[in-house]
């Protein structure tokens, strides 16, 4: 990675890392999760493995095509390859998911704030995910599981469009069976042999058993969904500063220099993407902010 010689006013030369230059990572194991979503492992071509915290993201670069911000979906405690779970929605994401095993991608980061799940130890924990929003939460869930006995009741509420869109299905079963996590899945519409719940994930909040005053909630999904979930959690008695949401904005730099991700006074890329609801509530109440 490159260093650029820069000087503090009147000071001596200091090496400054250029946050805009990608490091090269090679695609290792790849898995198709759903019709349009893939998870792959990335290993550095040279240099140190990526050290990151759950909830952080990288800027993933398909050479010559462009970059997209993608959350790290792997276990931050495992110092192995880095995992990303990507949904094919456009030019860059399509180039990323169709790159073959062994191909080299550019990686910048990790960037942004994290879920900080250890801070929830000693109380109840509620994870609420919508669609691919489960991917950024997965690292926090795995981190929690590694020290499961430090947490009381743990609930995962997960809403997806159809049963075919459910991510990490095997893991959901393991988390429920072996790790003492109450997993509730609901789908918007089910045509086939779905015997689970149908309806919005918001509706699960009032019924999920947790001690609201001692609960920390981690929410990731589309912005409207998060807004309704956050207010349902507040209605249940969860404190606003114990609700954390992961925000999504257009991002070009990931490091607070390009201006794209602004949410009034916040740069979502550096002040977020994980932000507490007490900070977000006044901002989410204005349209198009």
């Amino acid at each position: 990675m490159s260093m650029v010689d820069s000087r503090e006013p009147g000071g001596s030369p200091v090496a400054v890392l250029d946050p805009m230059l990608p490091r090269r990572f090679r695609i290792g194991r790849t898995r198709q999760d759903t019709r349009d979503t893939y998870t792959f492992e990335l290993e550095p071509v040279e240099g140190e493995p990526l050290v990151y915290a759950a909830g952080q993201f990288t800027m993933l670069d398909a050479f010559g095509v462009g970059e997209a911000p993608i959350s790290i979906s792997g276990n931050p405690l495992a110092l192995g390859p880095v995992e990303h779970t990507i949904r094919d929605v456009g030019v860059v994401t399509h180039a990323l998911i169709t790159a073959p095993t062994g191909a080299v991608l550019g990686v910048r980061g990790p960037f942004g704030t994290s879920w900080d799940v250890t801070d929830a130890a000693g109380g109840d924990v509620v994870f609420v995910a919508g669609g691919i929003g489960l991917a950024p939460l997965r690292g926090a869930i795995l981190e929690l599981i590694a020290q499961r006995d430090r947490y009381e009741r743990v609930v995962l509420l997960y809403g997806v469009r159809t049963p075919e869109d459910i991510l990490f299905g095997d893991e959901l079963r393991t988390w429920a069976k072996d790790n003492g996590i109450v997993v509730e899945v609901t789908v918007d519409n089910a045509q086939h042999a779905w015997r689970g719940r149908v309806g919005l994930v918001t509706q699960l909040v009032p019924r999920a058993g947790f001690d609201a005053r001692r609960t920390t909630a981690f929410v990731c999904g589309p912005e409207v969904m998060m807004r309704y979930v956050a207010s349902a959690l507040v209605d249940r008695g969860v404190r606003e500063n114990r609700i954390r949401l992961s925000m999504e904005r257009n991002m070009k730099c990931g490091v607070g220099l390009c201006g794209h991700c602004q949410l009034r006074e916040l740069f979502v890329c550096v002040d977020g993407p994980v932000l507490t609801y007490d900070r977000l509530a006044p901002l989410l109440s204005s349209r198009e902010l």
Binding site: D18, N250, L257, C258, H260, R287
Partner: protein, 381 residues
């Protein structure tokens, strides 16, 4: 103090340019191009807008002939020195692919053909000096540094100039950013046209400035010169075309996020992005990836962008700010309010360029005033 205050004639100004060039600086100052004043290379005093003034008002800019020989006798030019350090398009990297591999060779800012400096800025207005300081905080003063800006900005020598001829759209006096340079310069000039021959009062801001001044023929300043410079600044401060009341402005903007005034301005704004392109503090950029036909050679460039475009906030499902109403609100709320939370200062230095260059004559000072008068609607959730 008196030792630090000297006077130069036009010959002295030429010597100053020569000395700076001799020290290896690329000297950049105001120049006339395409009927407007823009930053450009300066080798002789004749490259400066000698004898030119300007006339500015909302949606109006015209160069005029002065009846004297003033070289700094105009208000804020069409463009600040911003592009010297922060070009409208610059190379981030070039890369080559072979098979499944690719390399990104770091070529640094000079690969761009864009000069690296060190630069000497000549005749910088106080408003633009404040804008430069703001850019330094945004691009150098946080966790991640813009290394290309840092490389160009490094070692910049600043010769500031007191503004003598503010225009109809200027309001730096009310923003506390002018008209007299107060910090951030090596040397500061005030052009004096009365009380003696055409001359410049020079104030020294740094030891480096003093060293450079030693190499230039200058005379000790007389009390009349010192007084003359104070008079120039006082006259300019009293002749600003506009004012902006900054008292409580952040709360006014935050509380008025749903004001009907935004619909009013949206009905006039063309979302042309002019205001952002001329603003000396706007820093929003995008990246462009370009590959050759084989896809094996590619480069990424950074280009200026603007929050007035719909694509700027595009994410899955559409733009966050599809309406011009919310884009104008974003711009103005950022400039005058959110900037204070982000960086500790206003994002506006009162240069008036956005007013001059808006084809719809939209005026940030009038919009701010209108919001301050609008009763705040009840907060809706």
């Amino acid at each position: 103090m008196a030792d630090d205050v000297r006077v130069l004639g036009m010959d002295g100004l030429q010597q100053l340019i020569d000395v700076l060039a001799g020290h290896g600086y690329s000297v950049v100052g105001p120049t006339v191009r395409d009927g407007a004043i823009v930053p450009g290379p300066v080798r002789t005093v004749d490259d400066l807008p000698r004898g030119w003034g300007d006339e500015q008002d909302a949606a109006h800019y015209r160069l005029t002939r002065r009846d004297d020989d003033a070289v700094f006798g105009f208000a804020a030019g069409a463009q600040s020195p911003k592009p010297v350090f922060f070009p409208a398009s610059e190379l981030f990297w070039r890369g080559r692919r072979t098979g499944e591999e690719f390399t990104v060779n770091e070529e640094g800012p000079e690969a761009d053909g864009h000069g690296l400096g060190p630069y000497a800025l000549l005749g910088v207005r106080s408003c633009d000096l404040h804008a430069l300081a703001i850019h330094d905080v945004v691009l150098l003063g946080r966790n991640h540094v813009d290394v290309r800006y840092a490389a160009r900005r490094e070692g910049t020598f600043v010769v500031a100039a007191t503004c003598s001829s503010p225009s109809g759209t200027c309001f730096c006096a009310s923003m506390g950013t002018g008209p007299r340079p107060d910090a951030g310069y090596d040397l500061a000039l005030t052009e004096l046209l009365v009380g003696g021959p055409h001359r410049f009062l020079v104030e020294v801001g740094t030891p480096r400035g003093a060293e450079v001044l030693e190499e230039v023929e200058s005379a000790e300043a007389l009390p009349v010169d010192v007084q003359g410079a104070d008079d120039v600044a006082a006259w300019a401060a009293a002749h600003m075309g506009r004012t902006l009341d900054t008292e409580g402005i952040k709360d006014v903007l935050y509380a008025n996020a749903e004001s009907p005034r935004w619909d009013d301005v949206a009905s006039r704004c063309l979302a042309c992005t002019n205001c952002t392109l001329v603003c000396p503090t706007c820093f929003c950029t995008s990246v462009e990836d370009v590959a050759d036909l084989t896809g094996d050679v590619a480069e990424r460039r950074r280009v200026w962008d603007s929050c007035f475009t719909q694509d700027f906030s595009y994410i899955h499902g559409g733009s966050i700010r599809p309406e011009i109403r919310s884009r104008y609100r974003q711009w103005m709320t950022h400039k005058l309010a959110a900037w204070i939370d982000q960086f500790g200062t206003s994002g506006c230095v009162g240069c008036g360029r956005c007013i001059t260059w808006c084809p719809a004559a939209i005026d940030i000072t009038a919009e701010a005033a209108a919001l301050s008068w609008t009763p705040q609607p009840a907060v809706t959730t």
